[in-house]
């Protein structure tokens, strides 16, 4: 700092008239030594609801932070500090402020700003750009707020569309195109879900009998119709909470929720088989099939291991196939003490 500016630092520098002060600081309060408003900026008068001249500052503004001040001594003790205050006329609108003492005990200049409450104030008082000093960043803050909400809105809509696409892609990926049943992916996901929930259920592995002959004799088109009819009958026989999936050419897996009693399961399986044994009419051809079924059971006491459940149902199915066609076998776990290693 050179000598000239140092001497200026102590002297009063500018004398401004009211309108000029108002343009520079539209939210100022120029206070006389007694603490009355000598001049107020146009915007603060708009917010405070009229002419403020002559009124004690404590009737116009309420100091909140760092502490309240009711007289000039209290106010000037806060000179230079960041202030938080409200207008008595607008107690919910939080303002920022700064007070400085004027030279020679001439009073004080208190300048106010809206800070973040700008958004509320603009709406409430229908402020225009002319209510702010052009040097104020109010317009930029409003601009950014609107730009941000426009962009966020676009992003939210994009996220919703993408999520919709994801859900439908996952649904497609887990669906067997021919029959509309779930596929192996659906089976694995549902198994994991049931095991995670600890929900008891039976896993019914079904393999169609005599289906290969239909395919070989009448062609794949007829075979496909038969598979669709099988899917329909199985869905029809099962409850809504059960999950019917097609996991291979003529292989189906059904997860039957909350049923673990071997006798009851055997009955259900027999009913499914006899339903499938009803001839299926395709273009005048009488297609006769049957099915072999192997079952495994998950209870709260079993280890939640999907591979083991599938393996046990496979073993039971293998036994059914070995015993002839149209059989049902429920896998019975070996007794732990006498049976040795179950693996």
């Amino acid at each position: 700092m050179n000598a000239v500016s140092e001497s200026w630092a102590c002297a009063a520098l500018v004398g401004l008239d009211g309108p000029a002060l108002g343009r520079l600081m539209p939210m100022h309060l120029y206070l006389c030594p007694e603490g009355r408003v000598r001049h107020a900026g146009p915007t603060v008068e708009r917010l405070a609801g009229g002419n403020l001249c002559g009124r004690p500052f404590a009737e116009v503004v309420t100091l909140r932070r760092p502490r309240a001040a009711a007289d000039m001594a209290g106010l000037l003790a806060l000179a230079g500090l960041p202030l938080k205050l409200t207008l008595a006329a607008e107690p919910v609108l939080s303002l920022k402020g700064l007070v400085v003492a004027l030279p020679d005990g001439e009073g004080a200049l208190l300048n106010l700003s809206m800070g973040i409450s700008l958004l509320d104030a603009v709406g409430k008082f229908d402020l225009t750009l002319h209510d702010f000093a052009p040097t104020d960043l109010a317009a930029e803050l409003l601009y950014l707020t609107e730009a941000k909400s426009a962009v966020t809105g676009e992003l939210r809509r994009l996220a919703q569309r993408l999520n919709g696409a994801r859900v439908s892609a996952e649904e497609k990926a887990a669906t067997d195109i021919l029959t509309g049943l779930g596929n192996r992916r659906r089976l694995e996901a549902t198994l994991k879900q049931f095991l995670g929930q600890g929900r008891p259920f039976a896993l019914m592995h079904m393999d169609l009998d005599y289906f290969k002959q239909i395919n070989d004799t009448h062609g794949h088109a007829v075979g496909d119709v038969v598979l669709c009819e099988v899917a329909e009958r199985l869905t029809d026989e099962c409850r809504v909470q059960d999950v019917v999936t097609r996991v291979g050419g003529d292989e189906f897996v059904i997860l039957a929720v909350d049923i673990v009693d071997p006798l009851r399961l055997e009955k259900i399986a027999q009913r499914l088989i006899s339903r499938l044994e009803n001839p299926i009419q395709v273009e005048g051809i009488d297609c006769r099939i049957s099915a072999s079924i192997g079952l495994s059971v998950f209870t709260r006491h079993s280890a939640p291991d999907p591979a083991r459940l599938m393996r046990e149902a496979d073993m039971a199915l293998y036994e059914s196939k070995g015993a002839g066609r149209a059989r049902v076998t429920v896998y019975i776990p070996p007794e732990p003490p006498a049976g040795g290693d179950p693996g």
Partner: protein
């Protein structure tokens, strides 16, 4: 090209010439069936293909189509957000013109990867202005022309606009402000959702 611009072209064609026009253009240009996403970026060539197909279909010169696009962006209700963002530039059309230099920065504040042309305003000898438009994509000066014409109308100003010089990557527009307060203009409140 930014999805916002592609999306704007899509909305413009659909709203102005009908959904059938847009689906034809999209098919010819090879746009994905769902149309453009505003927040994704696409190859510039795709935007070009869309504009070519639109010119073919609509039967207007490219320049006119782009100018109409600019007007649409400011005056259509669907793009009210954009009109509002532009109106933050100033209280009247003249103030608005003076903020054109900041347009790319303002654009980046809103969408950091949005490419807008550099606009430089200078005062002309005869009570008018010259806007130098640099960069952006080919023909963007016509979109700017349409937008400025619509903004003048929005402010209630009477102004004449012309593209007088075009070279690759830059163009010059003239603005003659005949009457800054020709009519009342459209209302604007700083508050979002205001009257």
């Amino acid at each position: 090209m930014h999805g916002l611009i592609n999306r704007a072209i899509q909305c413009f064609l659909g709203d102005t010439y009908g959904a059938e026009c847009w689906s034809h253009v999209a098919r010819v240009a090879g746009v994905e069936p769902g149309g453009f996403e505003a927040m994704l970026t696409y190859e510039d060539a795709l935007t070009d293909a869309v504009l070519d197909a639109a010119v073919d279909r609509v039967g207007l010169p490219r320049e006119m189509l782009l100018e109409d696009l600019g007007t649409y962006l400011v005056s259509n209700k669907e793009f009210e957000a954009l009109r509002r963002l532009l109106r933050f530039g100033g209280e009247n059309f003249l103030e608005f013109l003076f903020t054109l230099d900041d347009l790319p920065e303002r654009g980046h504040l809103a969408v950091p990867d949005l490419e807008l042309p550099d606009l430089e305003l200078s005062e002309d000898a005869e009570d008018g202005f010259v806007i130098h438009c640099r960069g952006g994509w080919p023909g963007v000066e016509f979109v700017v022309q349409g937008m400025l014409r619509a903004m003048a109308d929005d402010y209630g100003a009477l102004a004449l606009l012309d593209v007088i010089d075009r070279k690759p990557g830059r163009a010059t527009l003239t603005v003659s402000l005949l009457d800054a307060a020709f009519h009342a203009g459209r209302s604007f409140s700083l508050a979002a959702g205001g009257r």
